[in-house]
């Protein structure tokens, strides 16, 4: 594999219909590292995250203008098919959403099966095992791969969703508050997993939990919003240690020290 390049975002404006939700984001996201996005509710961090694999435009009326380069290609180029972008940039959602009609095994293979790609049984078995091991779930489910994915606990379901995402071998994994519905033990399992995943993948994680951001991320970006109805901005992004000990912006300092609002 060629040396991974950073994700470069230039002058990105994100809209919901007429409403400008996030304005003027310029950022470079380092490859094979974890970037956390923090900020108050409604500041546009999830919206920004969803523009990185063109999931934003799934919402009726939503679109983005600007440039997002992944591996040197602008994913917002008019000739780019969003489907191909999403095959390279996977996503894990806030609420675990395994497919209710599928077994654990089929959930992991969803990216292959839903795309009507043929795969031999041995390859499939190997892929399932590798993805589930990659998501630290293999030992818990290896004896019940044919049971429904919805039968797992919340934390296991979320790791199943991560297994499903890494089974399609993306370059980037986006995580939208993946632990907000989980108990501390499941959260710990996922955070450990994030540490392992960054060896292979570029990870961008949105979180409300600043301790989590400081635990898992190498760099942290802070989004803020001036008021209701105003667009959100990326205030600053820096190494996580710097952000949490010595932020350069007053707003960031207020937010992380709890003096916000």
């Amino acid at each position: 594999m060629a040396a991974p390049q950073p994700i470069t975002v230039e002058d990105l404006n994100i809209y919901y219909g007429d409403f400008l939700a996030v304005e003027g984001v310029d950022v470079q996201i380092r490859p094979r590292s974890v970037t956390a996005l923090i900020g108050p509710s409604g500041c546009g961090k999830s919206t920004f995250l969803r523009t990185l694999n063109r999931m934003h435009e799934v919402i009726p009326g939503a679109y983005a203008k600007g440039k997002v380069e992944i591996n040197g290609e602008d994913i917002y180029d008019s000739r780019v098919d969003p489907v191909n972008v999403r095959r390279r940039v996977g996503m894990v959602f806030q609420k675990a959403n395994p497919f209710p009609t599928m077994s654990i095994r089929d959930n992991v293979l969803a990216g292959v099966k839903l795309n009507n790609r043929r795969i031999s049984k041995t390859d499939a078995d190997e892929l399932v095992e590798r993805a589930l091991k990659g998501a630290n779930l293999w030992n818990e489910v290896k004896d019940r791969l044919d049971k429904p994915g919805m039968g797992l606990s919340g934390g296991q379901q979320q790791r199943l969703c991560i297994a499903r995402t890494i089974a399609v071998k993306p370059e980037v994994v986006l995580m939208d508050e993946p632990c907000s519905a989980l108990d501390p033990i499941s959260t710990l399992a996922i955070e450990d997993l994030i540490h392992e995943l960054k060896e292979e993948y570029t990870i961008v994680i949105v979180t409300h939990n600043m301790q989590q951001a400081s635990r898992v991320s190498d760099r942290t970006g802070f989004f803020n919003i001036a008021g209701t109805g105003k667009p959100g901005h990326l205030i600053e992004i820096d190494d996580t240690d710097t952000i949490f000990t010595n932020p350069s912006n007053k707003q960031t300092e207020d937010y992380i020290s709890g003096r916000f609002g």
Partner: protein, 392 residues
């Protein structure tokens, strides 16, 4: 809070706090006593006015039961429980009233229809394996093969037309009509579907007739397919509405999960949305089929009636169960001049029965209900095996 403190009580004007055990409940069988009292008073009152009958006694008895039960409860249990008793009785009464027609209908159809089906000669299935060719006068014979096949064929063709049209319309409304001109178009379609739901079935029949007459050389043309088109007009709006509801129930999460795996929209619809909703879709489609399988008026106009089996949807009249019931019932009592009737075609000799036409109508009604129940059963099985599995 200390453990010895008494349970907090509402501050009242009296010095003693209100005790929790003060509210008395009467055991349930007091309802039986008040019910019997109501019934007795009703019977007595009706006897005095010389209007005693089972129905009137039950109805008046129930009303008196409401009154007695409420009054007795008011005296013994207080106003709150009295209201509870009254409402419970009203709810049970409403349930009984709504169940009455259903049970009564099923009972009549089974009692009168099943008897005729079982009494068929020469064997127990004869009513379902013979048709009406050569059955004249009061002949205690004949059957509904032709009508069963006709009903199944016409309903099948109506479904073949309506299910794709209805399902694709629903998919358009739910998955594609979300913004811009598609949204406007979707609103128009929804409005038209609502209008279509209200089309009287006889008008659908006239439409089917007029449509085919407009391009067929023979103005008196009657074909099975005409009936299927007329029925599909009634079926499409039901399929659209039911499927739309079911597709909207599929969580957006699942679509997004699929998109995020790089699955194109059409594959997401086919393999995630339809697959997740399949149980509901089957139920909705079965309801739509059940809605049209008993339609009489459009089939009378477009398909007509025959006495023998016709497999060809595109040539000639066909018999159907609803029109068969209608025809047999209109024939009324037969005229039995002799003890036996001879079939002019195969020269078989049958006994004569005055009520034969009415009996056949009931037996055909029973057959129709059996078909609808079998369809429902199949739909249940499909939903059962395809619905999302939540168990561990």
């Amino acid at each position: 809070m200390s453990t010895t403190a008494p349970a907090p009580s509402r501050p009242t004007s009296s010095s003693a706090p209100r005790r929790l055990a003060e509210e008395r409940r009467l055991p349930w069988y007091h309802l039986v006593f008040t019910g019997l009292a109501g019934l007795l008073v009703a019977v007595a009152a009706l006897a005095i006015f010389d209007a005693l009958s089972v129905t009137s006694a039950i109805l008046l008895g129930f009303v008196l039961h409401l009154l007695f039960g409420w009054g007795y409860s008011l005296l013994r249990e207080g106003p709150r429980w009295a209201t509870d008793r009254l409402m419970t009785l009203l709810v049970i009464g409403a349930f009984a009233i709504s169940m009455f027609p259903l049970v009564s209908l099923l009972w009549s159809v089974i009692a009168r229809g099943l008897t005729r089906v079982l009494a068929a000669k020469p064997n127990i299935l004869s009513f379902w394996t013979t048709d009406m060719s050569g059955i004249i006068g009061g002949a205690d014979a004949g059957g509904v093969t032709h009508a069963i096949i006709g009903t199944l064929l016409i309903t099948l063709w109506a479904s073949l037309i309506s299910i794709p049209v209805g399902l694709f319309t629903a998919i358009f409304l739910v998955e594609y009509a979300d913004q811009g001109w598609k949204r406007t178009l979707g609103k128009g379609v929804t409005f038209l579907v609502d209008v279509m739901t209200g089309i009287p079935s006889i008008v659908a029949g006239l439409f089917g007739l007029a449509l085919f007459i407009s391009f067929m050389p023979d103005q008196s043309v009657r074909m099975g397919i005409m009936g299927a088109v007329a029925l599909s007009l009634l079926m499409i709006p039901t399929v659209v509405r039911n499927s739309e509801e079911m597709l909207r129930l599929v969580p957006m999460d699942l679509r997004e999960a699929s998109y995020a795996l790089g699955v194109p929209k059409w594959l997401t619809i086919v393999k995630v949305v339809l697959r997740t909703a399949i149980a509901g879709l089957t139920t909705g489609i079965t309801l739509a089929i059940a809605r049209v399988i008993g339609e009489t008026a459009p089939l009378l106009l477009t398909v007509g009636m025959v006495t023998s089996l016709n497999w060809n949807m595109f040539d000639g009249r066909m018999a159907t169960l609803p029109t068969f019931i209608n025809q047999q019932y209109r024939n009324g009592n037969a005229n039995c001049m002799a003890d036996s009737v001879t079939n002019p075609i195969n020269h078989e000799v049958y006994a004569c029965s005055i009520t034969t036409n009415i009996d056949r109508a009931w037996a055909a009604a029973f057959t129709l209900i059996v078909i609808v129940m079998v369809l429902n059963l199949i739909a249940r099985l499909i939903s059962h095996y395809f619905s999302p599995k939540l168990s561990r």
